[in-house]
């Protein structure tokens, strides 16, 4: 039976890889997700004539990162996208009201 190669003395476990890239790119995607689904929501609600429908596209946009959270290999992408999504909700709080008012005429 062959033994696995022993790492040379003085070398510890390989350094743990960080998740900065997934978080940063995910946050950017989350920002785009929030804007696109938010605008879609306003358009859909304007066409249907019921404000509740404005939540439809953003909820679908939130489902994707939530599903990514379930798998360990995609979890940090999910966290990044959710961070970007909610950060954008905070930053664009006022713009959202202006957009809806414009569409409402």
């Amino acid at each position: 039976m062959t033994q696995p190669p022993v790492p040379p003395a003085g070398y510890g476990a390989p350094p743990k890889r960080g998740h900065t890239l997934e978080l940063l790119v995910g946050a950017l995607l989350g920002g785009v997700d929030a804007v696109v689904t938010g605008v879609l929501g306003v358009v859909v609600a304007g066409n249907v004539g019921n404000g509740v429908w404005s939540f439809g596209p953003p909820v679908v946009g939130l489902l994707v990162p939530v599903v990514l959270l379930l798998n360990e290999s995609t979890r940090w992408w999910g966290v990044g996208i959710l961070i970007g999504f909610f950060l954008t909700l905070i930053v664009l709080g006022g713009a959202c009201v202006a957009l809806i008012s414009a569409f409402s005429g």
């Binding site: 960080g18 998740h19 978080l23 404000g51 509740v52 404005s54 939540f55 940090w76 966290v79 990044g80 959710l82 961070i83 909610f86 950060l87 909700l89 905070i90 930053v91 664009l92 709080g93 006022g94 713009a95 959202c96 009201v97 202006a98 809806i100």
Partner: protein, 259 residues
């Protein structure tokens, strides 16, 4: 017409800049304190979810008769955004996230300077787009032109308290105190956020007297009523911690001489 900087809404530009500055301060402070556990990302997510939800829904309860309040949909889409609601939601979100991922160390010291700087910058957006305050006889009042006065339902040409300038000065000063002094001085983990929120609560209660928000009960505005319920709890905690000696500096042990 909603004020814009080029094609971008003025208010959101400054909130965005405030958020960027807050992220930079948060990351720098986390590195300095060696709090680089990857679960911090979940804690930040908790703060953002809580902040985003409560800043929109925090002003929902306007009337004791619940039927007179807006529906949750109307409130989410058209309701006022509230800083106090957002701060409360972020605090709640952090605690829920920490419980869910089992992260025990205190994180308030990472948030305190970040929130202070973010608010100092973000409030510039409020200054440029919202009603500045109540009429004042002082020489530093802001006078609105007819267009801005019409948009904000305020009198034109009358000097108004620059309440957002007061708030910007408070948060900028708080950031300087936290960044250049208190974070190096205080040994107890998490206490800088408690002290900052207590100071902001007292300051905000006072600044509401000249903000121009609607007075709803006993001469108090809604933010003052919210603070009347929550601020005593924060102040009681500060007093309790002070009695326990938490804010006293631990003496540095004298160097041992080796013979």
């Amino acid at each position: 017409m909603y004020p814009t900087l080029g094609p971008l809404p003025t208010h959101d530009v400054f909130v965005g800049l405030g958020v960027l500055a807050a992220v930079a301060v948060f990351v720098a402070e986390a590195r300095r304190r060696g709090q680089t556990d990857e679960r911090i990302a979940y804690v930040v997510l908790g703060a953002l979810v809580g902040g985003a939800v409560f800043m929109r829904l925090g002003t929902w309860l306007q009337h004791l008769d619940l039927r007179q309040n807006a529906s949750l949909t109307e409130q989410w889409l058209y309701g006022n955004r509230s800083i106090l609601g957002g701060l409360f939601g972020a605090w709640l979100g952090v605690h829920v996230a920490k419980r869910l991922v089992g992260y025990r160390p205190r994180t308030g010291d990472l948030f305190a300077p970040a929130v202070a700087l973010g608010m100092a910058i973000g409030r510039v957006g409020c200054l440029l787009t919202e009603l500045p305050g109540t009429p004042t006889g002082t020489s530093w009042g802001i006078r609105l032109d007819p267009a801005a006065a019409h948009r904000l339902h305020a009198p034109a040409g009358v000097p108004l308290h620059p309440s957002f300038v007061y708030e910007i000065v408070f948060h900028a000063a708080a950031f300087c105190v936290l960044w250049f002094w208190l974070r190096h001085r205080l040994d107890a983990p998490g206490e800088t956020l408690t002290l900052y929120l207590a100071a902001y609560g007292v300051f905000r209660f006072a600044v509401e007297l000249v903000r121009g928000n609607e007075v709803v009960w006993a001469g108090l505005t809604r933010p003052q009523l919210f603070l009347l319920a929550t601020l005593p709890l924060v102040l009681a905690r500060v007093a309790w911690q002070a009695r326990r000696g938490v804010y006293r500096r631990r003496p540095v042990p004298a160097p041992v001489e080796v013979a």
